[in-house]
Amino acid sequence: MIEIKHLAKHFGDLEVLKDISLTINKGEVVTIIGPSGSGKSTLLRCLNLLEQPDGGSILFDGVDIVGGQVKIENIRKNACMVFQHFNLFKNMTVLENMTYAPRVVNKLSKEEARDKALKLLEKVGLSNKAAEYPSRLSGGQKQRVAIARALAMEPEVLLLDEPTSALDPEMVKEVLDVIKELAHTGITMVLVTHEMGFARDVSSVVHFMDEGVLVESGQPEEFFAHPKTERARKFLSTIL
Protein backbone atom coordinates (compact mmCIF):
# COMPACT_ATOMS: atom_id res chain seq x y z
CA MET A 1 0.00 0.00 0.00
CA ILE A 2 2.82 2.39 0.86
CA GLU A 3 6.18 1.91 -0.74
CA ILE A 4 9.07 4.08 0.39
CA LYS A 5 12.05 4.09 -1.93
CA HIS A 6 15.45 5.65 -1.26
CA LEU A 7 13.96 8.39 0.88
CA ALA A 8 16.36 11.16 1.89
CA LYS A 9 15.93 14.23 4.04
CA HIS A 10 18.30 16.71 5.57
CA PHE A 11 17.97 19.75 7.78
CA GLY A 12 20.81 21.99 6.69
CA ASP A 13 23.97 19.90 6.87
CA LEU A 14 22.38 17.26 9.03
CA GLU A 15 21.28 14.16 7.16
CA VAL A 16 18.25 12.89 9.05
CA LEU A 17 17.12 10.23 6.62
CA LYS A 18 19.59 8.26 4.53
CA ASP A 19 18.31 6.12 1.71
CA ILE A 20 15.32 4.63 3.52
CA SER A 21 13.35 1.96 1.68
CA LEU A 22 10.50 -0.01 3.16
CA THR A 23 7.03 -1.27 2.36
CA ILE A 24 3.89 -0.98 4.43
CA ASN A 25 1.10 -3.40 3.59
CA LYS A 26 -2.57 -2.87 4.13
CA GLY A 27 -3.71 -3.81 7.63
CA GLU A 28 -0.22 -3.93 9.06
CA VAL A 29 0.73 -2.37 12.37
CA VAL A 30 4.20 -1.06 11.72
CA THR A 31 6.34 0.26 14.54
CA ILE A 32 9.46 2.31 14.11
CA ILE A 33 11.85 2.29 17.03
CA GLY A 34 15.31 3.62 17.69
CA PRO A 35 17.24 6.08 19.82
CA SER A 36 16.23 9.76 19.96
CA GLY A 37 17.44 11.67 16.95
CA SER A 38 17.51 8.58 14.79
CA GLY A 39 15.07 10.13 12.29
CA LYS A 40 12.04 7.98 13.07
CA SER A 41 9.68 10.90 13.66
CA THR A 42 10.94 12.62 10.53
CA LEU A 43 10.26 9.47 8.52
CA LEU A 44 6.73 9.36 9.90
CA ARG A 45 6.18 13.05 9.17
CA CYS A 46 7.33 12.51 5.57
CA LEU A 47 4.47 10.06 5.10
CA ASN A 48 1.91 12.84 5.15
CA LEU A 49 4.30 15.51 3.97
CA LEU A 50 4.49 17.49 7.18
CA GLU A 51 8.13 17.21 6.18
CA GLN A 52 8.99 17.45 2.51
CA PRO A 53 11.54 14.76 1.56
CA ASP A 54 14.61 15.89 -0.37
CA GLY A 55 14.94 12.75 -2.41
CA GLY A 56 13.45 9.35 -3.14
CA SER A 57 9.81 8.53 -3.50
CA ILE A 58 6.81 7.51 -1.44
CA LEU A 59 4.30 5.51 -3.45
CA PHE A 60 0.80 5.57 -2.05
CA ASP A 61 -1.13 2.84 -3.86
CA GLY A 62 1.36 3.23 -6.68
CA VAL A 63 1.20 7.03 -6.87
CA ASP A 64 4.27 9.03 -5.90
CA ILE A 65 3.35 11.73 -3.39
CA VAL A 66 6.79 13.33 -3.37
CA GLY A 67 7.29 16.13 -5.84
CA GLY A 68 3.89 17.76 -5.84
CA GLN A 69 1.88 15.82 -8.44
CA VAL A 70 -0.76 14.98 -5.83
CA LYS A 71 -2.67 17.62 -3.89
CA ILE A 72 -1.17 17.71 -0.45
CA GLU A 73 -4.57 17.85 1.32
CA ASN A 74 -5.65 14.65 -0.43
CA ILE A 75 -2.66 12.82 0.98
CA ARG A 76 -3.08 14.14 4.49
CA LYS A 77 -6.76 13.35 4.81
CA ASN A 78 -5.86 9.73 4.11
CA ALA A 79 -2.83 9.66 6.38
CA CYS A 80 -3.88 11.35 9.60
CA MET A 81 -1.41 11.95 12.36
CA VAL A 82 -1.63 11.65 16.12
CA PHE A 83 1.01 13.80 17.80
CA GLN A 84 3.07 13.55 20.95
CA HIS A 85 1.53 16.81 22.21
CA PHE A 86 -2.02 15.99 21.01
CA ASN A 87 -2.50 19.27 19.11
CA LEU A 88 -6.21 19.44 19.81
CA PHE A 89 -7.74 22.71 18.65
CA LYS A 90 -7.84 24.83 21.77
CA ASN A 91 -10.68 27.04 20.61
CA MET A 92 -13.02 24.12 20.00
CA THR A 93 -14.82 21.66 22.24
CA VAL A 94 -14.02 17.95 22.04
CA LEU A 95 -16.99 17.40 19.74
CA GLU A 96 -16.05 20.34 17.51
CA ASN A 97 -12.48 19.07 17.35
CA MET A 98 -13.80 15.78 16.01
CA THR A 99 -16.40 17.09 13.59
CA TYR A 100 -14.39 19.97 12.14
CA ALA A 101 -12.16 18.19 9.63
CA PRO A 102 -14.80 15.62 8.56
CA ARG A 103 -17.13 18.50 7.74
CA VAL A 104 -14.59 20.79 6.10
CA VAL A 105 -12.52 18.18 4.31
CA ASN A 106 -14.80 15.18 3.83
CA LYS A 107 -17.92 17.36 3.43
CA LEU A 108 -20.01 15.39 5.89
CA SER A 109 -23.22 17.02 7.09
CA LYS A 110 -23.32 18.36 10.62
CA GLU A 111 -25.45 15.44 11.77
CA GLU A 112 -23.36 12.75 10.08
CA ALA A 113 -20.18 14.19 11.54
CA ARG A 114 -21.75 14.46 14.96
CA ASP A 115 -23.06 10.90 14.98
CA LYS A 116 -19.73 9.54 13.89
CA ALA A 117 -17.86 11.60 16.47
CA LEU A 118 -20.11 10.45 19.30
CA LYS A 119 -19.69 6.81 18.30
CA LEU A 120 -15.91 7.19 18.30
CA LEU A 121 -15.94 9.03 21.61
CA GLU A 122 -17.84 6.15 23.08
CA LYS A 123 -15.21 3.78 21.72
CA VAL A 124 -12.43 5.65 23.49
CA GLY A 125 -14.56 5.94 26.63
CA LEU A 126 -15.07 9.69 26.64
CA SER A 127 -18.74 10.15 25.75
CA ASN A 128 -19.24 12.41 28.74
CA LYS A 129 -16.54 14.84 27.57
CA ALA A 130 -18.06 15.87 24.24
CA ALA A 131 -18.89 19.40 25.37
CA GLU A 132 -15.64 20.06 27.25
CA TYR A 133 -12.77 22.16 26.00
CA PRO A 134 -9.43 20.36 25.70
CA SER A 135 -7.95 22.43 28.53
CA ARG A 136 -10.28 20.57 30.90
CA LEU A 137 -9.00 17.12 29.96
CA SER A 138 -6.09 15.12 31.34
CA GLY A 139 -3.22 14.24 29.03
CA GLY A 140 -4.48 10.70 28.54
CA GLN A 141 -7.96 11.92 27.72
CA LYS A 142 -6.58 14.48 25.27
CA GLN A 143 -4.65 11.79 23.46
CA ARG A 144 -7.69 9.52 23.26
CA VAL A 145 -9.66 12.40 21.76
CA ALA A 146 -6.81 13.07 19.32
CA ILE A 147 -6.89 9.43 18.21
CA ALA A 148 -10.67 9.55 17.83
CA ARG A 149 -10.35 12.81 15.90
CA ALA A 150 -7.95 11.21 13.43
CA LEU A 151 -10.19 8.14 13.09
CA ALA A 152 -13.19 10.34 12.33
CA MET A 153 -11.48 11.13 9.02
CA GLU A 154 -11.49 7.41 8.18
CA PRO A 155 -7.92 7.59 6.96
CA GLU A 156 -6.30 4.78 5.03
CA VAL A 157 -3.39 4.87 7.39
CA LEU A 158 -3.08 6.22 10.92
CA LEU A 159 0.26 7.72 11.88
CA LEU A 160 1.15 7.91 15.57
CA ASP A 161 4.17 9.96 16.59
CA GLU A 162 5.24 8.92 20.10
CA PRO A 163 1.66 9.08 21.33
CA THR A 164 2.50 8.31 24.96
CA SER A 165 5.80 10.18 25.39
CA ALA A 166 4.25 13.34 26.84
CA LEU A 167 1.97 11.51 29.25
CA ASP A 168 2.27 10.96 32.97
CA PRO A 169 3.07 7.29 33.63
CA GLU A 170 -0.37 6.49 35.04
CA MET A 171 -2.02 7.66 31.82
CA VAL A 172 0.09 5.68 29.40
CA LYS A 173 -1.94 2.53 29.76
CA GLU A 174 -5.32 4.05 28.89
CA VAL A 175 -3.88 5.33 25.61
CA LEU A 176 -2.03 2.13 24.80
CA ASP A 177 -5.23 0.19 25.41
CA VAL A 178 -7.05 2.29 22.85
CA ILE A 179 -4.28 1.79 20.30
CA LYS A 180 -4.14 -1.93 21.02
CA GLU A 181 -7.85 -2.25 20.40
CA LEU A 182 -7.43 -0.38 17.13
CA ALA A 183 -4.61 -2.64 16.07
CA HIS A 184 -7.04 -5.57 16.09
CA THR A 185 -9.55 -3.83 13.81
CA GLY A 186 -7.45 -4.24 10.68
CA ILE A 187 -6.57 -0.57 10.28
CA THR A 188 -3.15 0.24 8.87
CA MET A 189 -1.00 1.96 11.46
CA VAL A 190 2.50 3.33 11.58
CA LEU A 191 3.66 3.96 15.10
CA VAL A 192 6.78 5.62 16.42
CA THR A 193 7.23 4.65 20.03
CA HIS A 194 9.57 4.16 22.95
CA GLU A 195 7.27 1.59 24.53
CA MET A 196 9.18 -1.58 23.61
CA GLY A 197 6.87 -4.01 25.35
CA PHE A 198 3.95 -2.48 23.55
CA ALA A 199 5.74 -2.56 20.20
CA ARG A 200 6.40 -6.24 20.70
CA ASP A 201 2.75 -6.95 21.53
CA VAL A 202 0.95 -5.06 18.77
CA SER A 203 3.26 -4.84 15.77
CA SER A 204 3.22 -6.94 12.66
CA VAL A 205 6.58 -5.47 11.64
CA VAL A 206 9.27 -3.63 13.56
CA HIS A 207 11.74 -1.26 11.92
CA PHE A 208 14.81 -0.22 13.85
CA MET A 209 16.47 3.07 12.88
CA ASP A 210 19.71 4.63 14.00
CA GLU A 211 21.36 7.83 12.77
CA GLY A 212 19.00 8.20 9.84
CA VAL A 213 19.52 4.68 8.58
CA LEU A 214 17.03 1.84 8.58
CA VAL A 215 19.23 -0.71 10.30
CA GLU A 216 17.02 -3.73 10.73
CA SER A 217 13.46 -4.85 10.09
CA GLY A 218 11.66 -7.96 11.22
CA GLN A 219 8.82 -9.71 12.97
CA PRO A 220 8.56 -8.44 16.56
CA GLU A 221 9.14 -11.85 18.23
CA GLU A 222 12.17 -12.42 16.06
CA PHE A 223 13.55 -8.89 16.37
CA PHE A 224 13.23 -8.54 20.13
CA ALA A 225 14.50 -12.06 20.89
CA HIS A 226 17.28 -12.29 18.30
CA PRO A 227 18.25 -8.93 16.84
CA LYS A 228 20.55 -9.54 13.88
CA THR A 229 22.62 -6.39 13.96
CA GLU A 230 25.04 -5.20 16.59
CA ARG A 231 23.44 -1.77 16.76
CA ALA A 232 19.99 -3.19 17.46
CA ARG A 233 21.42 -5.51 20.13
CA LYS A 234 23.11 -2.55 21.80
CA PHE A 235 19.95 -0.44 21.65
CA LEU A 236 17.78 -3.17 23.08
CA SER A 237 20.23 -3.94 25.87
CA THR A 238 20.21 -0.31 27.00
CA ILE A 239 16.45 -0.07 27.29
CA LEU A 240 15.07 -3.50 28.05
Binding site: N48, L50, E73, N74, I75, R76, K77, N78, C80, M81, F83, H85, F86, N87, L88, F89, K90, N91, M92, Y100, A101, V104, V105, Y133, P134, S135, A146, R149, A150, M153, L159
Partner: protein, 218 residues
Amino acid sequence: MLDFSVLNPYFPMLLAAVWITLKFTFFSTILGFIGGFILALITLSKNKVLSLLAKVYISVFRGTPLLVQLMLIYFATPQLTTYTISALEAGVLSFGLNSAAYISEALRGGILSVDKGQWEGAMSLGVPKHRLVLDIILPQAIKNALPSLVNESIMLLKDSSLVSVIGVADTLRWADLIQAKTFRAFEAFIVAAAVYYVLVMALNVLGSYLEKKVRVSD
Protein backbone atom coordinates in the same frame (compact mmCIF):
# COMPACT_ATOMS: atom_id res chain seq x y z
CA MET B 1 -17.52 81.57 38.48
CA LEU B 2 -18.39 78.28 36.92
CA ASP B 3 -21.75 78.26 35.23
CA PHE B 4 -22.71 75.17 33.28
CA SER B 5 -26.19 76.46 32.59
CA VAL B 6 -24.84 78.57 29.73
CA LEU B 7 -24.31 75.30 27.89
CA ASN B 8 -27.96 74.29 28.09
CA PRO B 9 -29.00 75.58 24.66
CA TYR B 10 -26.12 73.71 23.05
CA PHE B 11 -26.77 70.20 24.37
CA PRO B 12 -28.78 69.02 21.35
CA MET B 13 -25.79 70.04 19.26
CA LEU B 14 -23.55 68.07 21.60
CA LEU B 15 -25.59 64.93 21.00
CA ALA B 16 -25.12 65.32 17.28
CA ALA B 17 -21.39 65.89 17.84
CA VAL B 18 -21.03 62.77 20.02
CA TRP B 19 -22.88 60.80 17.36
CA ILE B 20 -20.30 61.95 14.82
CA THR B 21 -17.44 60.94 17.14
CA LEU B 22 -18.99 57.49 17.55
CA LYS B 23 -19.71 57.02 13.86
CA PHE B 24 -16.23 58.11 13.04
CA THR B 25 -14.60 55.76 15.56
CA PHE B 26 -16.79 52.89 14.38
CA PHE B 27 -15.94 53.22 10.69
CA SER B 28 -12.22 53.78 11.27
CA THR B 29 -12.11 50.76 13.59
CA ILE B 30 -13.79 48.57 10.98
CA LEU B 31 -11.42 49.78 8.28
CA GLY B 32 -8.47 49.39 10.66
CA PHE B 33 -9.40 45.80 11.52
CA ILE B 34 -9.94 44.71 7.94
CA GLY B 35 -6.72 46.37 6.83
CA GLY B 36 -4.91 45.01 9.87
CA PHE B 37 -6.01 41.44 9.13
CA ILE B 38 -4.87 41.66 5.55
CA LEU B 39 -1.54 43.23 6.48
CA ALA B 40 -0.92 40.66 9.21
CA LEU B 41 -1.58 37.78 6.82
CA ILE B 42 0.66 39.35 4.19
CA THR B 43 3.57 39.94 6.57
CA LEU B 44 3.35 36.30 7.65
CA SER B 45 2.98 34.97 4.12
CA LYS B 46 5.86 33.57 2.16
CA ASN B 47 5.49 36.11 -0.65
CA LYS B 48 8.62 38.21 -0.15
CA VAL B 49 7.58 41.16 -2.35
CA LEU B 50 4.15 41.60 -0.77
CA SER B 51 5.57 41.06 2.68
CA LEU B 52 8.20 43.75 2.14
CA LEU B 53 5.57 46.19 0.85
CA ALA B 54 3.42 45.55 3.90
CA LYS B 55 6.39 46.13 6.19
CA VAL B 56 7.16 49.43 4.49
CA TYR B 57 3.52 50.45 4.82
CA ILE B 58 3.47 49.61 8.52
CA SER B 59 6.75 51.40 9.09
CA VAL B 60 5.60 54.60 7.34
CA PHE B 61 2.23 54.76 9.06
CA ARG B 62 3.70 54.10 12.47
CA GLY B 63 6.64 56.42 11.87
CA THR B 64 4.77 59.60 10.96
CA PRO B 65 2.28 61.65 13.02
CA LEU B 66 -1.38 60.81 12.57
CA LEU B 67 -2.22 64.50 12.21
CA VAL B 68 0.19 64.81 9.30
CA GLN B 69 -1.38 61.77 7.61
CA LEU B 70 -4.82 63.27 8.14
CA MET B 71 -3.89 66.61 6.61
CA LEU B 72 -2.03 64.99 3.78
CA ILE B 73 -5.05 62.92 2.82
CA TYR B 74 -7.53 65.74 3.31
CA PHE B 75 -5.67 68.52 1.53
CA ALA B 76 -3.61 66.57 -1.00
CA THR B 77 -6.34 64.29 -2.36
CA PRO B 78 -8.13 67.11 -4.24
CA GLN B 79 -4.79 68.29 -5.58
CA LEU B 80 -3.62 64.89 -6.84
CA THR B 81 -6.98 63.55 -8.00
CA THR B 82 -9.96 65.58 -9.04
CA TYR B 83 -11.97 64.11 -6.18
CA THR B 84 -13.04 66.52 -3.47
CA ILE B 85 -12.76 64.40 -0.39
CA SER B 86 -15.08 65.24 2.49
CA ALA B 87 -13.60 65.85 5.91
CA LEU B 88 -15.33 62.77 7.29
CA GLU B 89 -14.04 60.55 4.47
CA ALA B 90 -10.52 61.88 4.90
CA GLY B 91 -10.72 61.25 8.62
CA VAL B 92 -12.04 57.69 8.35
CA LEU B 93 -9.53 56.89 5.64
CA SER B 94 -6.45 58.23 7.41
CA PHE B 95 -7.40 56.79 10.80
CA GLY B 96 -8.36 53.47 9.29
CA LEU B 97 -5.11 53.22 7.34
CA ASN B 98 -3.13 54.28 10.37
CA SER B 99 -4.75 51.90 12.82
CA ALA B 100 -4.44 49.07 10.27
CA ALA B 101 -0.68 49.36 10.76
CA TYR B 102 -0.96 49.05 14.54
CA ILE B 103 -3.64 46.37 14.47
CA SER B 104 -1.63 44.25 12.04
CA GLU B 105 1.28 44.27 14.47
CA ALA B 106 -0.98 43.23 17.35
CA LEU B 107 -2.50 40.45 15.24
CA ARG B 108 0.86 39.30 13.94
CA GLY B 109 2.02 38.89 17.53
CA GLY B 110 -1.21 37.05 18.29
CA ILE B 111 -0.76 34.70 15.35
CA LEU B 112 2.88 33.99 16.18
CA SER B 113 1.97 33.12 19.75
CA VAL B 114 -0.40 30.37 18.58
CA ASP B 115 1.35 27.04 19.15
CA LYS B 116 2.81 25.50 16.00
CA GLY B 117 1.04 22.27 16.91
CA GLN B 118 -2.29 23.91 16.12
CA TRP B 119 -1.19 24.35 12.50
CA GLU B 120 0.16 20.83 12.27
CA GLY B 121 -2.88 19.33 13.95
CA ALA B 122 -5.15 20.80 11.30
CA MET B 123 -2.76 20.24 8.38
CA SER B 124 -2.37 16.58 9.28
CA LEU B 125 -6.13 16.12 8.85
CA GLY B 126 -6.07 17.60 5.35
CA VAL B 127 -7.61 20.96 6.28
CA PRO B 128 -6.77 23.51 3.57
CA LYS B 129 -4.65 26.43 4.69
CA HIS B 130 -7.20 29.22 4.31
CA ARG B 131 -9.75 27.34 6.41
CA LEU B 132 -7.22 26.48 9.05
CA VAL B 133 -6.15 30.11 9.37
CA LEU B 134 -9.74 31.35 9.55
CA ASP B 135 -11.20 28.72 11.86
CA ILE B 136 -8.35 27.73 14.13
CA ILE B 137 -5.48 30.21 14.07
CA LEU B 138 -7.29 33.56 13.89
CA PRO B 139 -9.74 32.85 16.72
CA GLN B 140 -6.81 32.01 18.98
CA ALA B 141 -4.72 34.91 17.66
CA ILE B 142 -7.54 37.38 18.32
CA LYS B 143 -7.90 35.99 21.80
CA ASN B 144 -4.18 36.49 22.42
CA ALA B 145 -4.26 39.97 20.94
CA LEU B 146 -7.56 41.07 22.48
CA PRO B 147 -6.09 43.42 25.12
CA SER B 148 -4.06 45.28 22.47
CA LEU B 149 -7.02 45.35 20.11
CA VAL B 150 -9.28 46.89 22.73
CA ASN B 151 -6.53 49.35 23.49
CA GLU B 152 -6.27 50.24 19.82
CA SER B 153 -10.01 51.00 19.63
CA ILE B 154 -9.66 53.25 22.66
CA MET B 155 -6.77 55.08 21.01
CA LEU B 156 -8.88 55.53 17.90
CA LEU B 157 -11.75 56.95 19.90
CA LYS B 158 -9.50 59.48 21.58
CA ASP B 159 -7.56 60.31 18.43
CA SER B 160 -10.82 60.92 16.62
CA SER B 161 -10.76 64.36 18.26
CA LEU B 162 -8.03 65.27 15.77
CA VAL B 163 -10.62 65.54 12.99
CA SER B 164 -11.92 68.70 14.58
CA VAL B 165 -8.84 70.31 13.05
CA ILE B 166 -10.17 69.78 9.53
CA GLY B 167 -13.62 70.98 10.50
CA VAL B 168 -15.56 67.82 11.31
CA ALA B 169 -18.28 68.74 13.81
CA ASP B 170 -17.24 66.18 16.41
CA THR B 171 -17.26 66.44 20.20
CA LEU B 172 -14.09 68.49 20.49
CA ARG B 173 -15.19 70.79 17.69
CA TRP B 174 -18.41 71.35 19.59
CA ALA B 175 -16.50 72.47 22.69
CA ASP B 176 -14.36 74.77 20.60
CA LEU B 177 -17.41 76.41 19.00
CA ILE B 178 -19.17 76.79 22.32
CA GLN B 179 -16.25 78.41 24.04
CA ALA B 180 -16.01 80.87 21.15
CA LYS B 181 -19.68 81.72 21.51
CA THR B 182 -19.98 81.80 25.28
CA PHE B 183 -16.37 82.53 26.33
CA ARG B 184 -16.73 79.67 28.78
CA ALA B 185 -13.67 77.59 27.95
CA PHE B 186 -13.55 75.49 31.10
CA GLU B 187 -17.19 74.42 31.02
CA ALA B 188 -17.11 73.60 27.34
CA PHE B 189 -13.89 71.60 27.35
CA ILE B 190 -14.53 69.81 30.62
CA VAL B 191 -17.84 68.56 29.22
CA ALA B 192 -16.03 67.34 26.10
CA ALA B 193 -13.42 65.60 28.27
CA ALA B 194 -16.16 63.96 30.33
CA VAL B 195 -17.87 62.70 27.19
CA TYR B 196 -14.64 61.10 25.93
CA TYR B 197 -13.98 59.58 29.33
CA VAL B 198 -17.42 58.00 29.54
CA LEU B 199 -17.08 56.60 26.03
CA VAL B 200 -13.62 55.17 26.79
CA MET B 201 -14.92 53.57 29.97
CA ALA B 202 -17.77 52.02 27.99
CA LEU B 203 -15.23 50.53 25.58
CA ASN B 204 -13.27 49.22 28.55
CA VAL B 205 -16.34 47.47 29.90
CA LEU B 206 -17.04 45.98 26.49
CA GLY B 207 -13.40 44.84 26.34
CA SER B 208 -13.55 43.07 29.71
CA TYR B 209 -16.79 41.41 28.68
CA LEU B 210 -15.21 40.11 25.47
CA GLU B 211 -12.16 38.90 27.33
CA LYS B 212 -14.29 36.95 29.73
CA LYS B 213 -16.18 35.47 26.81
CA VAL B 214 -13.10 34.23 24.95
CA ARG B 215 -11.74 32.70 28.13
CA VAL B 216 -14.38 29.95 28.21
CA SER B 217 -11.96 27.57 26.50
CA ASP B 218 -9.22 28.10 29.14
